[in-house]
Structure formats: C-alpha cells, structure tokens
Amino acid sequence: MKYYAAIREALRCELERDPRVFFMGEDVGKPGGIYAQSRGLQEEFGVERVRDTPAGELGFMGAAVGAALTGARPVVEISFADFIPVCLDQLVNQAAKIRYMSGGQARVPLTVVTFGGAGRNAGPQHSGSYEALLGSIPGLRVVMPSTPYDVQGFLKAAIRDDDPTIVILNKALLGLADDSEAGVEPIPFGEAAVRREGEDVTIVAWSAMVHTALEAADRLAAEDGVSAEVIDLRSIQPLDGETIGASARKTGRVVTVQETVSFAGIGAEVAAEVSRRAFGWLDAPVQIVGPPFTPVPFSKLMEEFVLPDAGSIVRAVREIL
C-alpha cells in the first residue's frame, strides 16, 4: 500500500469503527484532499463526518479541541505543518493542558494529521515539520511514520487514544509503497524500530531521513565494510530511550540525522538520552547531522545543498570511526 493510501485506509477503518470519530480539514471532504488522502470518504461517511473547513486553522483546531472535550473524537488535518503556528495556541495552551488544568476531569481525544518535510521546492514557508516544538509540550504525543505500515498503525493508535496526538506525515513519502495491507493493528507509542541491525555505529533517524539513513548504511557496508544499525524513532514523544541506549551501548558510536535545523532539536535530545544511558560505552561524541541554520530555500540547488543526504551521513560516520 502507498503512504497516502494508508492515511485513507486508517481513516476509513476508524470512521467505520467508532461513530464518534470524524475527520475535518481544508478540502478533505468533497475534493478528497489535495493528495487524494481522503478520496471517497465523504461519499462513504457523509458531510458531517468528513468535513470541509474554512481556511482558518485556529478556528477549526479549536473546534476540534472543543469537540474532543465533549464526547467526539476529532481527526483534524493541517495541510502543511507550516500552518501550525497560526493555530499553535489551541495545541499548546489548550489541547495539551486542558486535562492537566482540570485536575484530570477532562480528556482531549484529538488527533492532528499534518504534512511536513522539505525537499520538494516548496520554499521557506511550506517545508517545515515542527517536531521538536510539538514534542516538547507536555500533554501532546507526536509520531512521525516513515512507512505506509506505520502510517496506518500510528494513525489508528492516535485516534483510539484518549490524549492529543500529532501525526506528522512527510510530503516526500506520499508515493512510497510497502507490502502492508489494510488491517494493520494500532502501534503503541514510544517504540522505535530497528530498521537494520549493525555492530559498528548507530544511525538514528525519523520520517523521510530513515530512508536516507538506510541508503547511507548500504554505502557504508559496501564502501567501508562498516556495519551500521539504523533506528527509526517513529515516536518523537514519548521517545524510546531504551532502544537508543541499548544500541549505543552495543556500537559505541551514534549519528543522528534530521531534515529540520538541529538547534535544540530531536537530535540533541537523542544525544542527551545516549549520554544518560551509554556514557561509559561511547567511543566518540554523538554526531548530529542536520541542515545549516537557515530557512529552507526555494531553489533546487540550494535546497539540495542544505538538506542532509546519504553522503552527509556517511561523512559523519567516517569522522567518528
């Protein structure tokens, strides 16, 4: 199944399963989504449950929070993660805190689906992801599936979960296919996946960069005879420190790779986990590979220049071998 179709499959399954679930966002209803991610769902479930919104994210994100508070289970799409800043208050001051501020009375079973990621020449305002920001908010959960299988599993888990969860999808992966079929079970939050086992170095990645990391691991094996372990974080909040720590203790060397700027990012948090759990085992400092500290430029050449590729990972690994 393809990545975009996995979104639709998970939504269909949950809409069918639970009448309290509904899906809304810009152009997700009648037009079926700008990536066909919800095509056919409005025909199947009606305009009340698959709903086109006005182009005001603050309003409909807040409405999702209010609906979640009062018995419904909204799934709301923010078509680009870059639009999260216009509705951020409803996420960080409302959805994330309402249960806490209410002393445990309230539940906010909200799922946010959004499209992040760079590499498509979408320019500075359409290439962001915001996983570090969202992951650092107590009360929110954040997942970033890198495969169609994970899209289905995490989206279902998010919708069935009683807390607000942000599912950050990646635009660059929309056409990616794997052999998953309908019926994937929900995946528990907080479990990373070891995508490739290795002995010499651990490469930690998430979202689209997982595939880049696997490419780098192939190159390292072929060109350097180096056996790299590749960990796909999958879940940003909670983060699977255990899997990271175990791998770091085994290999003694860790490289993280991300497509968002690394200042106070998930790479730094992974490094902190490694330091907490594997300090005595480390043979080299954790290498955090990420773009330089700039917005994402429009031009192809410039965008390619700032984004990490397999070569950047290979170089970082070689530096600590």
């Binding site: 005001g56 603050l58 994100m61 018995g71 209410s102």
Partner: protein, 328 residues
C-alpha cells in the same frame, strides 16, 4: 414568555452568591491568603446569571479569566471553587488550575481560560459535537471587548456561521480590557455591528439588569435550539474592581469607580424590583442574604480545612493513560 417569580428570586440569589463569593475572595487576596492572579466580576453578576438561567444543565459554557460568576451561575459548588483558588486538593481542578482555569465537566463548564480568544473556537467545537452525536445541547461562550480583538473570536464566529451551529456568543462589555478602555480595542460603538459580517442574529442588552439579560438569552437560546445557527448577544455592564486584585485603577477617570455602585448595581436593581412587585419581602431578602453569607463562610472553611495537594500530584493528569508524566 414571562419570568416566573421563583426564577426572579433565584436569579437574585445567584447574583448575591457571586457577589459575596467574590467579596470574600477580594478580602482573602488582600490578606495575602490567595496565590496567583485573581480577576473579579463584581458589578457584572447579572450577565452570567441571566444567561445561565436560560440554559439546560446539559448545555455547555466556556468562561473567561474573569470567570467565577460564569461558573457559579452554571451551578458550581462554592466550596470546591474556593478550594481551587487556594490550590487545595478538593478544588475543582485539584489545585492545578487556580482561579483562571476552573472547569467542571459535569456541569458543562468547559473551562475558564487564561488565553483571550481561545474559548470561542472551543465552544464552536462543543456545538459541533452536539450535532455529530445527536445531542440536544447548545453551547455558550463568554468574552469581553478586549478578547474581541483576537483572531480566535473571528474564526469562531465565522465557523459557527458557516456551519450554522448552536452557539451563543456572549460579549460581556464592561468598558475595559485590563487597564485600557473599550475604544482602544474596538472601533465601533457596539459589537452588535459585527454580526452582519457573519450573517448572524445579534442583540444588545442592559447587562446590569438580570431580567433583560435573561430575555435576550432566552431569545438567543431559542434560535440556537431551533437550528437557526449562532447568535451574538452583547451585554453592556461595568467592572467595579481593578483588572486583577491589586490593581488600583489609577487610570480611570476620577470618581468613576466610586460612582458605580450607585449607578449600576444589578443586585439593587433586582431587589428593588422584587420588593416592588411583591415577589419578596425585606425579610425574605434578608434570609437570602444570611443563607448566602453562610454558604460563603462554609466555602472558606471547606477550603481552609481541605488537605493541601500532595506536591507529587503535580505529575498526575498529563496524559490519561499513565496518570504520570510522560517523558523526563
């Protein structure tokens, strides 16, 4: 539809409960017994009272930072409110929210809110879920002139109007937003002027007169229940106290504050009416006064005698699954 005598009396009592509760709050704050920020609605009691008198228990409200009145009018227990103000375990929010964040999901109080313009989209969502789940309830949201400048209020009104949802937007106009006057925040004489921009019904009522508020509220609620979409109801009222307790209101024209009780006391207006219409006698009003005084005293006692929240309870309620905080 006329107003039943019992309701007229009951609204008086509700207003008195808000007044005495907040006077006590002011005293406790002045004595240094209450932590954090406290915003009082003394002088504005008729607004939440008249609005909530038109509501069913299942209807929901979102309150503001100045929300004690909204929440009491929706039926909250004074003791648990006072305990919350004191940060005690028995408070509505187990001491985690404080004055600015009281909620009672059971009573349909979806929460006071420390962020202007945030409660309005949430209220739209409550109306949306009602429709989706086939529940009859409507949704009410309070906000002031200050908040009316927020994008969230606009987005909420637009959304409710486009989707024809049963939301009553109550614009509680008390003349001020923090330390600055209405005219610093709004360029039109009345927020009713905003309604045409969304194609929704609107009305303005005297927010000092609880029965005028009730009348307006009933009409608005009626429209909502019959599926005609959202309504904007403006209530013009007066803020007697400072923006927060401790604010001495030096920015207000000399003498303005002192004159307010004489000119705009919703309690006097209603008690005069009750006496005049023979609905209550002085003695009956005195009895109410005593009952309310007792309720307040008990609330304070309840708050004081309640156990402190355990410090480590700070770790609870971040997520619903684990009871404890997630990551480190």
């Amino acid at each position: 539809m006329g107003i039943q005598p019992e309701l007229r009396l009951q609204m008086y009592e509700t207003m008195l409960r808000i007044r005495r509760f907040e006077e006590e709050t002011a005293a406790l704050f002045a004595a240094g017994d209450l932590p954090g920020f406290v915003h009082l609605s003394i002088g504005q009691e008729a607004v939440p009272t008249g609005i909530c008198a038109a509501l069913d228990p299942a209807d929901t409200i979102t309150a503001t930072h100045r929300g004690h009145g909204h929440i009491l009018a929706k039926g909250a227990d004074m003791g648990r409110m006072m305990a919350e103000l004191m940060g005690k375990r028995t408070g509505y929010c187990a001491g985690k929210g404080g004055s600015m964040h009281i909620s009672s999901l059971d009573l349909g109080v979806l929460g006071a809110n420390g962020i202007l313009g945030a409660g309005q989209p949430i209220a739209v969502g409550a109306a949306l879920s009602a429709r989706l789940l086939g529940e009859e309830r409507i949704s009410v949201t309070f906000f002031g002139e200050g908040a009316s400048a927020q994008g969230g209020v606009h987005e909420a009104m637009n959304l409710a109007a486009v989707w024809k949802l049963p939301v009553v937007f109550v614009a509680e106009i008390n003349g001020w937003a923090e330390l600055s006057p209405y005219s610093d925040h709004v360029s039109v004489p009345s927020l009713v002027d905003r309604a045409a921009g969304y194609g929704i019904d609107a009305a303005s009522v005297d927010g000092t007169d609880v029965e005028a508020v009730l009348d307006g509220a009933r009409e608005a609620v009626e429209r909502c229940r019959s599926g005609e979409g959202p309504v904007l109801l403006e209530a013009r009222t007066q803020r007697w106290h400072g923006h927060f307790e401790g604010d001495r209101q030096l920015y207000r024209p000399e003498g303005e504050v002192a004159a307010l009780p004489e000119l705009y006391d919703p309690l006097v207006l209603q008690s005069d009416r009750l006496l005049e219409l023979g609905i209550a006698s002085e003695a009956e009003l005195d009895a109410i006064e005593r009952r309310v005084a007792e309720e307040v005293a008990e609330a304070v006692l309840f708050g004081r005698n309640s156990p402190e929240s355990a410090p480590e309870d700070a770790l609870l309620h971040v997520y619903s699954t684990d009871g404890r905080g997630g990551a480190a």
